[in-house]
Structure formats: C-alpha cells, structure tokens
Amino acid sequence: MAAEFLVAQDVGYRYAARRGVDSAPVLANFTVSLTEGEFFCLLGPSGCGKTTVLNLMAGFLEPTAGALTLAGRPIMGPGIDRTVVFQGDDALFTWLRTIDNVAFGLRMRGMPQERRHAIAREYLHLVHLDGQENKYPSELSGGMKQRVQIARVLATDPKILLMDEPFGALDAQTRARLQDELVEIWRKTSKTIVFITHDIAEAVLLADRIGVMTKGPGSTLAAIIPVELPRPRRRSSPGFGEAWEHINALIDNEEAGKQ
C-alpha cells in the first residue's frame, strides 16, 4: 500500500448562514485518500458538489468541517503544488499569446523570458500545439484552449492536477482524442490527477479508481471503485461494458435508495 498523499478526512462544506438560517450542507463526511501518481475520477450528477470538492482541494474554499492534507501538511489556500484545469475557457488570459499563457506560472516565479519560453514550448509540444505559440486564445478552438490549460498547469510542475470536467464542453471526437492524450501525458509525467466528470464512460476510460458521489445536499462518496482494466483502454475493450454497467447500477441503486 502506497503512502497516503492527498487526504480528505470527514470533510464538510456549507455556505455561511443567511439571516440566521443555516443552509443545507453541500458536502458532509467526505473522506478519500489518494496515493501519489494515481488517476482518480470523481463521478457524480450535476450539482452534487464535485466542483466544491475540487475547490477545497485547490484551496479556493476552506472546509467547514474535517480537514484536507497533502503529504501530511494541511491545505491552506491555493498553491503551485495543486493546479487547476477549469471547465470553461474563461480561465485563459485572453490578452496573452499561447506561449505566455503557458509560461505564466514560470513568470510568477521570476524566471527570465527566454528560459520560460523554452520550457513553455516543450509543454506546447507535449499537448500537440507546436506552431500555435503566437496565437491568442480567441484564435484557438475549444479543444486547443483546453490543451493550453493543460500545458499551462504542467509547466509549473505541480504535484497534483485538479481537472474540473475539462472536456465537458467539447465535441465527442475532440473529447475522445483529448482523453487519450491525457492518459498519455499522465503516463509520461506520472502526476497525480483528480478528474471530475459526470460521464461514466469517461471515468472508466481514464481512472485507476472512481469515486462515485451521492446526490446532494450533504453529498458524500457512495463508493470507491477500482478500475483494473489494462491500458490503453478502449470503449470496446473486454470488461469495459461490465465496468460501466456496474457503476451505472450503483448510481441507480443509490438514487432508488434515496427515494
């Protein structure tokens, strides 16, 4: 058993009380322990608090109960060891060229331009965006923008990539290609990845383990399911359909149990 890396222990989150009335908690008793280098998918229906979990891990929010730790140290505020790939394209800096978007984190460290551009070019190559360095985000397609986001977080060499439905807004073909490329990047860089999705097939395709979340309010993990299919995986791989059915049944039971 590998050492614990990113740990959420009995984490709860609720918005501040309004006019003295406590709001229902978004999250309750959320517990998970990730190992280093793991590809973990957080699967759940829209509005179940997946993004809240990610915001807590990123340090954008503070838990109202429980604690989050990374390698034993409590997570306090955003840090360059945990970088986020956001769902939409509004996280890119529209006034910067692709290469300067990717080099942004390095610039924040005070790295001189020549060096940070050289590094940014390597990561643009990794995400297959060679030759796009001088374009502005408005000149890129949706898939290319998400590639820029991935290159941008990798360039700062974080320990963990937090990905919030990064391919949710893409067409099916682009999405499938980026899923394959992400697995390839993960294999090459051996980063720990937390990947949020509401698509069972996407989770089965990508994850080492899938955390299935219950519906809110007060959502939590219903189950953690290891996916032991060999890689590279295809939707047509033997066992893929069974894994999909298994998780789908679990979600159905979960919902039936609530009613």
């Binding site: 970088t83 996280a91 890119l92 984190g105 924040m108 073909q173």
Partner: protein
C-alpha cells in the same frame, strides 16, 4: 468571382473553427462602399441645411452653409479660429488625461479592495449625478477664473465616467482567471498587475472614450467661466452680437474635432489593445 477552395483542410489536430475574417480585398471593398454612403449622407445633410435655412428663416436666425463657410474663412484669416480651437483642445486633453489618470487607478483599487470601495463608493455614486455645470460657481470662487477652474471642470466630468467603467470592468473579470493565477503562484499583488489590470483595460479605454465625448460637451460650460477664449467662449460671445454664423462655426468645429479625436482614440485602441477583448 470566387474559385472553389480545393485545397485539403489544414492538418491541425482540431483546427480552430473558420473565423470569418475579412480578406484585405474584401475590406477595401467594404470600406469604399461605406465611405461612399458616408459622403452621400453628409452632402445630403448640407443640401437639406441649405434648403431649410434659405426657405424658412431670415439670415440671422439660421445661417446657410455658404454664410457659415464665409465666416469661418474670415476667422481662419484673422487667426481667431485656430486660437479658439487650440485653447479648447488643450483644456479638453489636459482635463481628460488628468481625469483618466486619477480615475483608472482609483477604479482598479475600488474594484479590487472592498475596504477602499466601502470608503469611496458613496461619493462616487453621489457625485456622478451632479453635473459639472452645477459646480461652476463654487469652482470659480475657490480656484479663480484662470485655466485651473476650466481644466478642473473637465477633470470632474472625466473622473466619474472612467471610474465607474473601471469598477464595472473589475467586477466582470471571470473568477476563474484570478483563481488560475492564484494556483499558478501569483501573489495578490502580481494577480492585480498581471490579471486585473490587463483584463480591465478594455473597460478603462471604453470609459475614456465616453469621457472624451463628455469633455467636448463640458468644455463649452467650462469656457463660460472665464470667457476670453475657446470654442465655448466663441459660441457664447457670438450670442451677444447675434453672430449666428460664428455660432455655427463653433458648433461644426466642436462636432468635427470630437469626431476626429474619437476616431483617433479608437484607432489607438484597435492598434494596441485588440487582443484585450472586443472593443467597438
């Protein structure tokens, strides 16, 4: 005549959706058509002016275009016109630039730091409804009838427009941009300089463009204070002599200068800040 495009599609992994950019040839064609319509519209208006003024009014009440042109020629010959234009433009630009230089940083601060906003917002919200004209008398009493008063009036006009626009700009920054910057290692100060400032720039420039327009309107008021020069003075002083032709020279000059300045400003914006966001 267009040829069908037989070239194979580009081999980019997922090429950007075809952005409909005007090719240079199309652009020139479009500009030509637009300019023809502009020219026709302007000539039509001058003809209409001539007909209405000559048919329905006695000369001093509504001068015809030739009369206004004659008055303008006289004023150009005596050097009077350019003196008025020069001094008005100087006041407008000084007031506009000083006002923008105060308002943009202030708006950025007020937009970004709740504490600063809480201190100054009541005043911004209050005084933006008080037109500069209302301040004429107090300003003259406090600062005399010199240049300072006139420039101050224009500064006042500029400040609130640029300030409010800048604050709106800060509030329009996508939260994900600031979050992205934070997890990429930007300190709050660096996030302000590298994200808030550039993301707000289009709003600041839009505010400046609006303020520029208001500065032209306000210069007439400002030049009521110490009326010995400027287009506002020209317009108001001519009233005493019933010199309507000179009033029209002043009116046409204000409009034309405003238009030219605005076009120039827009050119600068498009030239240097196009990637910051859509600016019209």
């Amino acid at each position: 005549m267009t040829e069908p495009n037989l070239a194979p599609p580009a081999l980019a992994p997922d090429a950007a959706p075809a952005v409909h950019r005007l090719r240079p040839a199309d652009l020139i064609g479009k500009l030509k058509t637009d300019h023809l319509i502009y020219a026709a519209s302007i000539i039509g208006m001058i003809v209409l002016w001539q007909v209405v003024a000559a048919t329905f009014f006695k000369p001093p009440f509504f001068p015809t275009p030739p009369q206004v042109l004659a008055a303008a020629q006289e004023m150009v010959a005596s050097g009077e016109l350019f003196e008025h234009i020069g001094i008005s433009m100087q006041r407008i630009l000084m007031g506009f630039l000083i006002g923008s230089a105060i308002a943009a940083p202030m708006g950025l601060l007020m937009g970004s730091v709740p504490f600063v906003r809480a201190i100054f917002d009541p005043y911004a919200q209050f005084f933006r409804f008080v037109p500069s004209l209302a301040w004429l008398t107090p300003v003259v009493l406090w600062f005399g009838i010199g240049e300072i008063s006139k420039v101050l009036i224009i500064v006042y006009t500029t400040v609130f427009i640029v300030l409010i626009n800048t604050m709106v700009g800060v509030s329009h920054i996508a939260p994900n941009k600031l979050r992205a910057a934070a997890c990429l290692g930007a300190t709050p100060l660096k996030a302000f300089l590298h994200v808030t400032l550039p993301a707000t720039l289009p709003f600041i420039l839009t505010g400046m463009r609006l303020a520029m327009g208001n500065s032209f309107a306000t210069v007439v008021a400002a030049e009521m204070i110490a009326a010995d020069s400027g287009l506002g003075y020209l317009i108001f002083n001519s009233r005493l002599w019933m010199a309507t032709d000179k009033i029209f020279v002043g009116i046409v000059c204000l409009g034309a200068l405003g238009l030219v300045t605005d076009r120039f400003f827009r050119y600068l914006v498009v030239r240097f800040a196009h990637q910051y966001g859509p600016i019209e």
